[in-house]
């Protein structure tokens, strides 16, 4: 269900999952902020509606259990009053297919910050139960995360136009083949895979350096935040649950009292309620953690773009350097001076001059090489220039998105805290009333 504000392009539409209850929606976080204007979203509504367990044989012919997610596509037309909404087109996808889609996007659009997928395995969990991939809470949160991913891509000015993405949403069978057919794997640069590889770039772009630095710092701070949040949640859980013991002891105590009995007994019930309330409170907080996690993973995508730029810059510098080198060689050959060391130069010094013919043929080859080099340099320059331009466009867009999203997340966190306080006040007020009747 798309709740869009009518009005100017400045306003943002909020996409909310239809499955969540109104209370969730009220307390809950805005999943994605979408700018109006992608052709795709004008055409269709996208949902990840359900999750199901399947068993099947995997590539090594062994039985495995996995989860599939139902993607629903509906035409984005408003339904008339009293009319029934159109039945959606649906297909099932498993997590590995989402991963394949993302890898394809990463390779195909290296200058775009590709939205991240929800985590493969549960990390930063406060309650050990939810760490299991088959745990219903984890599956549910993953479903929300996958929907979020699709909406992010669908709302991106560049990515939303991608054909493979469209097929992912519409073609259940044969999609995998279509992706592989694009031959995107060939474009994967093995150098990028090694994270520790250092490209010594002579003239680093200050903006990218600053961005990479920011991205690394943001990654650190969000990781820290998530870690500490888990500890805080753990402790808070303990505080609430211990209060439940009051429930039992008040009940036992009330049995030996006359006038105090009723008051104590009912107060005890409220203590039980208090202790039980923490489960929902912490479950809701997981949504906040998920929002933070998304941006934690986003920092990896940002870093990835920076590194691609580094690589392109590096290649450019290599080509330029190579060209300079060749030009110098040509000059030397033409003037006969040896300014730079070359093996040919040394051997000719040691073993005698070469013939005029040899020299001229070498000069011609060098001339050719220089020409090619200049072509390559021009290409690389253009490539680099385009990359920087498109990348910065996307980076600016991302920055705005990040500021808005995180601000909203913080506001909704505050709302959650207020709700928790109100619940606490309610319970203790009830208990106080009971104590007063003692």
């Amino acid at each position: 269900m798309m709740m869009a504000d009518s009005g100017s392009n400045e306003e943002v539409a909020v996409i909310v999952n239809t499955d969540i209850t109104s209370t969730e929606s009220e307390n809950n976080l805005i999943n994605t902020m979408v700018e109006r204007g992608t052709a795709l979203l004008r055409k269709m509504e996208i949902n990840v509606a359900e999750a199901e367990k399947r068993t099947g044989k995997n590539t090594v012919n062994m039985q495995e259990t996995y989860t599939v997610y139902l993607i629903e596509i509906r035409p984005a037309e408003t339904v008339p009053e009293g009319g029934t909404p159109a039945t959606p087109d649906t297909l099932w996808r498993r997590y590995s297919e989402f991963e394949l889609l993302r890898t394809y996007l990463l390779v195909t659009y290296p200058y775009i910050i590709i939205p991240p997928l929800p985590e493969k395995r549960a990390e930063f969990v406060w309650h050990k139960l939810a760490a299991d991939n088959l745990d219903p809470d984890f599956v549910e949160r993953r479903r929300v995360g996958l929907e979020n991913f699709l909406l992010r891509v669908a709302s991106h000015p560049v990515l939303s136009n991608d054909k493979i993405f469209f097929l992912f949403l519409t073609e259940e069978k044969g999609w995998r083949e279509a992706v592989l057919e694009t031959g995107f794997q060939d474009k994967v640069d093995s150098r990028l895979k090694s994270l520790s590889a250092m490209f010594r770039v002579k003239n680093p772009d200050k903006r990218f350096t600053a961005l990479k630095h920011y991205s690394d710092e943001l990654n650190t701070v969000i990781s820290q935040l998530l870690r500490v949040r888990v500890k805080v949640a753990d402790r808070l859980y303990g505080v609430y649950k211990v209060h439940g013991n009051y429930g039992r002891v008040f009940s036992e105590w009330s049995a030996i009292e006359k006038e105090m009995g009723d008051g104590l007994q009912s107060a005890g019930h409220h203590m039980d309620t208090y202790a039980a309330s923490i489960d929902d409170i912490l479950e809701e907080e997981e949504h906040y953690a998920d929002q933070l996690k998304e941006y934690l993973f986003y920092t990896d995508a940002v870093r990835s773009v920076c590194r691609k730029h580094e690589l392109i810059q590096y290649e450019l510098e290599i080509v330029a350097q190579d060209l300079v080198h060749k030009k110098q060689q040509k000059e030397e050959l033409a003037t006969g001076t040896v300014r730079i060391f070359s093996l040919k130069g040394m051997t000719s010094k040691l073993f005698g001059q070469e013939s005029q013919e040899q020299r001229e043929s070498r000069l011609a080859a060098l001339e050719q090489s220089i020409q090619e080099g200049e072509e390559t340099l021009k290409e690389k320059n253009t490539e680099c220039h385009e990359f920087v331009q498109t990348a910065w466009e996307d980076i600016e867009r991302f920055k705005e998105q990040k500021d808005k999203d995180l601000r909203e997340a913080l506001i909704s966190y505050a709302i959650m805290q207020i709700s928790m306080c109100k619940k606490g006040i309610q319970v203790w007020s009830n208990a106080k009333e009971c104590f007063n009747k003692m």
Binding site: V228, R229, G238, V249, W253, Q417, G424, A431
Partner: protein, 440 residues
Amino acid sequence: MSVGTPRGLASSGQKPIAEILHPLSAAEEPLSVTVNLGGDKEAGLTNGTPVETSSPASTSSLFNRLQLDDDLEADVRDPYAETTETRDLFVTVSDPKKHVSTMETYITYRVSTKTTRVEFDLPEYCVWRRYQDFDWLRTKLEDSQPTHLIPPLPEKFVMKGVVDRFSEEFVETRMKALDKFLKRIADHPVLSFNPHLNAFLTAKDLNKRQGLALLTKVGESVKYVAGGYKLRARPAEFCAMGEYLDTFNQKLGTIDRIAQRILKEQSEYLTELREYGTVYSSWVGLEDELRRPLEGVAGCVTTCCGALEDLGENMSQDFLPVLREYVLYVESMKNVLRKRDQSQAEYEARLEAAILRKQEDRSPMPVEVEKCQDKVECFNADLKADWERWQSNKRQDFKQLLTGMADKNINHYEKCQAAWESLITLLQDKQTEDKTSETN
């Protein structure tokens, strides 16, 4: 388990008391009152009329008690119903002061008294007392009023090095407990007239050597009783009291443990919460647009930490001490029950011996036996009255304690809620600010 309103004097022992000659029938003077010990007459002792002498263990005081007005109906008037209009003795403990001498360091407290009672020469007093003095008073009261429940004192010994005896919190807590101790005594219809209390409240210098002779006398009787008398049948209501106290004590212990556990968990939560706040603060430095929201969140977390600290302080300073005090109170009460049992046992033993002798040589009931009987009956009556009083006070005290605990928790959440709400207002104001500047 119901503890009923005080009926009449409990019958003690196997033989119906009416069969035995009136204990005072052998006395020289006729009394103004005949006490029917098997029936439903309220013991005149409990109506709050002052005791003239200061050595209740002696026969004369027992006589005196029995001379008191007896036309009070048990069920019509509750002698322990205290209204502020009838209260005529007010005491307060305040102003702790540290004294440093060559020999020792200790704290004294100001004890202020306001009264209209004739037993006091002046309407107002102000004296300085230390813990030792309170302890003295309590011992004196216990010895001179063995049939009454004496309120407990806060714990005497504190482990040096573990607890700082001169810290503000410790002194404050102790002072509140001492204040409660004196107030409970001042409100007691019998104890408040005890001359030792009078001395405590009025004398410039407490001569603690007073009553040495009395001590030895009591000591003797204690020894005598401890000579192994076995109780035949404890009356049901005292059994019920004993059982109640045991269970109640257990529950108190459990509540104490729960409260301590909560304090511990809250303290650990506080530690993590503080770190949580600092992470938000460190994030601020990285951002531009997000500065304000992040600073706001860090600020709210800090406020919540402060509120949590206050809550913990309250629990350890106000809640736990009162709980512990009641544990001591239960101990005192159990002691008194034990003494009652002993006194009944003594009476039964003597009675048995006397009856045997009587069967042999037809001699009249010896006076000691009658004295014992009186003692038991007084004891039972005092105890029952005190029990009722104790139950009523306990109910008030716990009502206050628990509503206080609820209040503190409500307070804590209110503070936190206010902080988060002001953050939202701040952020939403900025949002509308931004929107208007955008459209302009």
